[in-house]
């Protein structure tokens, strides 16, 4: 079997999906270089649930005029999804900060510390505003994700 140089995406794909149980079905050609030619069934990839039919449709759009089309789409996907996950993570962190400020406010009240109460209450208000903004962004992202990820906008 002739050795074939793989694109970075192909090499990554096969490294990710080749597992011990499927090695018998793969034809491995050892080479002097770091590339391997593997005969990997698309059925295997879908059966493992990593990719679905939509990925095949994206692959189908790749042609000679756009030889790196699949890789461009995948790169954009990870760039966008990484940013979205970071936004969600930051929104969740905000809830902890507001809780902490509420606890400080409660402590100051319990101590009869009026000045402390005023300071803490201002911080509570600030964290409340930040949290509201982040959660609004969070739910907007969910709505953008489509019906599967849709959520009812909370009454704030």
């Amino acid at each position: 079997m002739a050795e074939s140089k793989l694109s970075p995406l192909q090499w990554w794909t096969e490294e990710l999906f080749l597992e011990e149980e499927y090695r018998d079905t793969a034809a491995v050609v050892s080479s002097a270089g770091h590339h391997r030619r593997l005969s990997l069934s698309p059925r295997v990839v879908k059966e493992k649930g990593y990719l679905d039919e939509q990925f095949c449709q994206v692959e189908d759009l790749q042609d000679e005029a756009s030889p790196n089309f699949v890789e461009e789409v995948v790169t954009l996907f990870f760039k966008d999804s990484g940013r979205l996950m970071s936004n969600i993570e930051q929104a969740l962190i905000g809830a902890s900060r507001m809780k902490n400020e509420c606890m400080s406010f409660r402590d100051s009240c319990g101590q009869g510390n009026v000045e402390g109460c005023m300071r803490s209450f201002q911080k509570v208000k600030r964290e409340h505003a930040i949290l509201r903004q982040k959660l609004e962004s969070y739910f907007q992202l969910l709505r953008q994700a489509g019906p599967a990820g849709a959520a009812t906008r909370p009454v704030m």
Binding site: Q54, Q57, V58, D60, L61, D63, A65, S66, F69, E72, V73, L76, F77, D80, R143, Q144, A145, G146, P147
Partner: protein, 141 residues
């Protein structure tokens, strides 16, 4: 030299990844039409939000450039969403077919788009087959 007709399509979509896929689907459909003896060249314009789309349509209507033959319109976009952009385009008297392309496929969403002036609705992702149906419906292929 045979005269080739120009097909102008406007893609209105805020997410770059979706614009990339939409553009490729439309370009492949145009190539297929050309290979099958069609006589259309494709001009593909993109807008990242509804406001930019309205401006593009306005520019096409007032300048020497030919109007768009088809507008593919997303729903959720910053600055101006697809519903409002559709309403404003129709308000300019533009009759170009507008097809909503959205992941929100609930009946209420479809009705809202139609009420705004869209001619059709299709769900994401836009496949070659769905686009073929759209082009055939509006006699663009």
């Amino acid at each position: 030299m045979a005269h080739r007709k120009m097909m102008r399509v406007l893609l209105v979509e805020d997410e770059e990844i979706n614009r990339l896929e939409l553009a490729q689907v439309v370009a492949r459909a145009a190539l297929k039409a050309a290979a099958g003896g069609g006589d259309d060249d494709l001009v593909l314009d993109e807008a990242e939000n509804g406001a930019a789309a309205v401006q593009r349509v306005r520019d096409a209507a007032t300048a020497a450039a030919a109007p768009y033959d088809l507008i593919l319109m997303d729903k959720q976009m910053p600055v101006m969403d697809g519903h409002e952009a559709t309403r404003r385009i129709r308000g300019m008297g533009v009759t170009t077919p507008i097809v909503a392309v959205s992941s929100d496929g609930l009946p209420a969403d479809v009705e809202a788009f139609v009420a705004a002036g869209a001619d059709d609705f299709t769900s994401k992702p836009l496949s070659k087959e769905k686009l073929g149906d759209i082009l055939a419906k509006f006699r663009l292929a």
